[in-house]
Symmetry: C2
Subunit: 241 residues, 2 copies
């Protein structure tokens, strides 16, 4: 099954000025596509840090998604970081320059031309309705940090990442986690391949715990769900989704 | 200045089932206290992964905050992970057992007693209005994953982490990022110690970019702000905060 690492690049997230909307979106979308996200890492705008962490993620996972640091300003250092991670130079892309010219209808400023710089050997994938392409270096997909743009780019390239999706069942339970924990342990002994999650909720009147049952095998998850529902007292079950 | 790393432990975040509210909260609060958050890392519920990543974070930063994995169920592995990170055993805490007994008014079940296990040598900090203490091992502060509980625990222990806070000014600009980038570069040459952020916003009619100016020296940030406002054309400034 394909695996993924997500690298969020941006001081604005670490300093609490902006909340990261991109990793929750990517995790949800990748899960739906059958891709296992194994790490999310948020780091500062620093070329050496970007390079070092990206190398580790690129070696460890099938796909790496970066978010942020590809605009025209001083703190946009992702292209430098990716190039340093793979020990390649930064090249000027005539194709991107031409796109900027077409999009703006005029001669690009020096600042805008910063956005035509790509790591040597990068692939440019045209996707979505924006002028700029998705830049890909080895298994690293370089996405913009602005959530609306990241989503558009991802939506138009999502089929690149498809694996075998998980089947998810949710059981909302009225009992406390400590009361049902023994039943969950029993269930896992019977269904060792089941991905079983247990999430207490506070301030919900109608249930106390959301249980999630997952597998890529629909029959397996259904059998496990049936077994769980038999173990739980009927009054404990608020609803099943 | 104190630095921090945040370790979010939970398959539910990586699989996109639950959005992480804890790291945005901690980043914001720590920034207000003058602590620099340098990494946020989200990892699966896996003892070996928790141990390995925690060791790296504990060596690199002054404070490490973990979130998640301390409940009574099968996927709550943070205590094991912390113990493995520092090569210490897991001990039963009579003091926590006694707190559970007081809080519930009865003999604790085996499941609840799981919550009385702590890494050997852990400090227990009483804080807030909940029965369970904040468990601290070296520079690692072990917080619950449920956002309401994490906030209560953090609010009652925040003075442990106070450094010298940043002064933040925001300038909302009507021009595009590529138009103002040269002025920003000039500003940084004059004020090399300034933390300057530039964040394009889409779908905002009244401004296109939010600029943030920060420093721990209030005079320095004010001088830089004055210099920036002189550089920008007056019509370009939407507002200053």
């Amino acid at each position: 099954m394909p695996t993924a690492g997500i690298l969020i690049i941006g001081n604005e997230i670490l300093s609490g000025k902006v909340a990261d909307e991109n990793s929750p979106y990517l995790c949800r979308e990748l899960r739906g596509l059958g891709v296992d996200t194994e790490r999310i890492l948020t780091i500062p705008d620093d070329v050496q840090v970007i390079a070092a962490e990206l190398k580790v993620l690129s070696d460890a996972y099938d796909f790496v998604f970066t978010s942020g640091g590809i605009g025209p300003t001083h703190d946009d250092l992702t292209i430098e970081g990716v190039a340093a991670a793979f020990g390649v130079a930064i090249e000027h892309s005539d194709s991107i320059e031409e796109r900027i010219r077409r999009a703006t209808g005029k001669e690009p400023s020096e600042t805008l031309l910063r956005m035509a710089r790509v790591p040597a050997g990068a692939q440019l994938l045209d996707s979505g309705d924006r002028w700029f392409p998705l830049v890909v270096v080895k298994n690293v997909y370089i996405f913009p940090g602005v959530p609306e743009l990241l989503r558009k780019k991802f939506e138009s390239s999502r089929e690149l990442f498809r694996g075998i999706p998980f089947v998810l069942k949710k059981v909302f339970v009225r009992q406390n986690e400590s009361e049902i924990a023994p039943m969950l342990n029993e269930l896992l002994e019977q269904y060792p391949e089941l991905l079983l999650g247990s999430y207490p909720r506070i301030g919900q009147e109608s249930f106390h715990v959301m249980l999630t049952l997952e597998s890529r095998d629909p029959g397996y998850v259904q059998d496990a769900l049936d077994a769980l529902l038999e173990k739980l007292p009927e009054r404990a079950i608020h609803r099943v989704e």
